[in-house]
Symmetry: C2
Subunit: 386 residues, 2 copies
Amino acid sequence: MSAVTNQQETARIRQFPIDNRYFQATIELFNETSVFHLKKDKGMVSSITLHDVAKLAGVSIGTASQALNNRPNVAQDTRTRVLDAARTLGYPVKESDNGTADNPLSVIGLLTKHDYGFPFEVNAFYSYIQAGVESECRRHNLSLMFSNIEVDPANHPIMWPSMITEQRIDGLILAGTFIENTIGLLGQRIDIPIVLVDSYAPNLPFDSIVIGNVEGASTAVDYLIQQGHTHIGLIGWAKQSPPSIGERQIGYLRTLEAHNITARHVEESGLNREEGYRAAKMLLQRAPEVTAIFACNDLTAIGAIHAAREMGLTVPGDLSIIGFDNIDMAKEVTPSLTTVHVYKTWLGIFSVRQLIARAMNPEQPKTTMHLVTDLVIRESVSRPRK
Amino acid sequence: MSAVTNQQETARIRQFPIDNRYFQATIELFNETSVFHLKKDKGMVSSITLHDVAKLAGVSIGTASQALNNRPNVAQDTRTRVLDAARTLGYPVKESDNGTADNPLSVIGLLTKHDYGFPFEVNAFYSYIQAGVESECRRHNLSLMFSNIEVDPANHPIMWPSMITEQRIDGLILAGTFIENTIGLLGQRIDIPIVLVDSYAPNLPFDSIVIGNVEGASTAVDYLIQQGHTHIGLIGWAKQSPPSIGERQIGYLRTLEAHNITARHVEESGLNREEGYRAAKMLLQRAPEVTAIFACNDLTAIGAIHAAREMGLTVPGDLSIIGFDNIDMAKEVTPSLTTVHVYKTWLGIFSVRQLIARAMNPEQPKTTMHLVTDLVIRESVSRPRK
DNA sequence: TTCGGTAACGATACCGGTATCAATACCGGC
DNA sequence: GCCGGTATTGATACCGGTATCGTTACCGAA
């Protein structure tokens, strides 16, 4: 993998050729108050202090402190004067929580645990969760920290990210296949509200938001049965799969049971495309009577499509395939993938709301929120040939 | 779009049923020192103070401070004792920069500017950049803050994210199609190192990392010409496109020129799939002699594939299509997309390194780093029929 | 043994910021 | 005008943390 071709360097005098009034005003104020000493220690921001803000606003530092922290007993006029001064000088201002009820959080962390593939494959599922988290944080004026976490072969974290060890956050969202022990250790290490997204820790007192996996899988398998399939395979699940995938398998089993279908065609596998490809091939060789496959996620479903094609089977003519998650790719593959839509972004949005609710009322009982799934019918499923 | 079905609530006694020695040890230490007063003010972390750490470690607070800040004149033995005490009590510890040269940053921000589609479409391009940034931050023990930014119709930011206004970061990476004015305003607002990724501000003194767009586009168009195409269309670019896309158009024009091809088939459009679909249809209706299309990114290329198919043209038989970016989807569509690979993750990785270098040496001249691109040959391009 | 130098440490001053509380201004009722 | 209450403000104490500098322990050389 080649990388950089050349590193063009263009030396330039450091200058800001921009002239706008804001900048001018700032300069003048600096001169006026003459408190600006450009202290470049450790790359920190220029050392504007509360004292300077108070001086510029013409109040005492006590009042300035009160005004900047949204406390009562400060006249509106004074408050705006202080805020203006602070903004002018570049002093950190916590923007007032506009209208919405006050929330006690200011920085929250999003911690995911999933392996980047090699070389770097981003799991779109988490990208969507993160997009939801980010947008909801922005709505609530929260700062968001983000880190992934690496684990050793035993699935234990190798090291905590710095946002944990340096305690930079006052709320935490965990997304991904953490094992309960890890979550427990985290809960002891930091004493802040935690919510789990698509993650399971039944013995721990943390709120969580999960996907209706059992129902979703049932809907999918039900749909296959309705189409007339009786020999339905399962790929993407394995004994050591995380609980969310286990639930999808349970949905598969229960639905077959409910329809008095005894044939079980399960090929254990991992969750990526290559595993789906492998498992589908194995399954079809072992059980050629299979006419439909329920894949535990879209990536394995896509792998299965390729496997089927390579074995000379048409999809959906000879083999129907249904996925789970509805990632972007699902509608672009050929045939486009019938799958179970998961409201990934909403997982992220609700997790932030849950976190705020928990922070505002630490005594409320543990809650678990289930998000519904929706069947998305596209082209990869049809009635079985004869 | 339906959302939540039900909100199962399971009240439980808040308890930690986990028993491990670490937890036990912590409890004992709390008792021993008897400094643990669970102050739940504003949801902040438990108020362990430097004093407590010093007491537990059996040193003065001065020494404890020195030890925790990696300063000289502390015996190794004492330092580890203090660090252990701090970790035990849960006092924030800045993990020592293991081996690598000291860097002056501790929290950096990643700010993107791109519109989420509706409902929420995540742009995978930025997900990859972010993955690179995150992993490199982790390698350097940096905390990462993340925010997107909304803009008004004139492309000016509506409001600064809280990580800016509250000055929580001491380094900033900007990724996306910011306009120069916005970047300039940011540079005035905060006095921290900034690097730009896939973004252009020639008149501002900020380091940047860009894609070899011109060369990449040249390679792509060159390849089409080599295959025998002479009527080559361009979609995905428009007059108001960001500079990076403008460069791809320039590469297209220059390469045609270099081969003395006079035919220009440009259909202006945006950069998403629907725009690609629309532009390809327009172009093919207007200029049926076109046998190949260079799309400025993969999404438009995929749109073009659909348009061609809908018009009864086979790809690549009747129409060759080449894309740019090499997103995940490119290898899954049918036919799989020949495209220009961009080292998206490396953009992120290098941006962090650039930021650290800048922070360690604020006087170094402005640098611009170009990343090479690679042609990825798949199925969507062939020699023209006849 | 004495001397000088240095590593290690603690006492203390200092700094930035918050909490408290007394002082003051304002205002409406009588 | 007097009175009591309330809103607003500044002085000051306090808190957590860092910087400074004097003290001590130790060690090798004279």
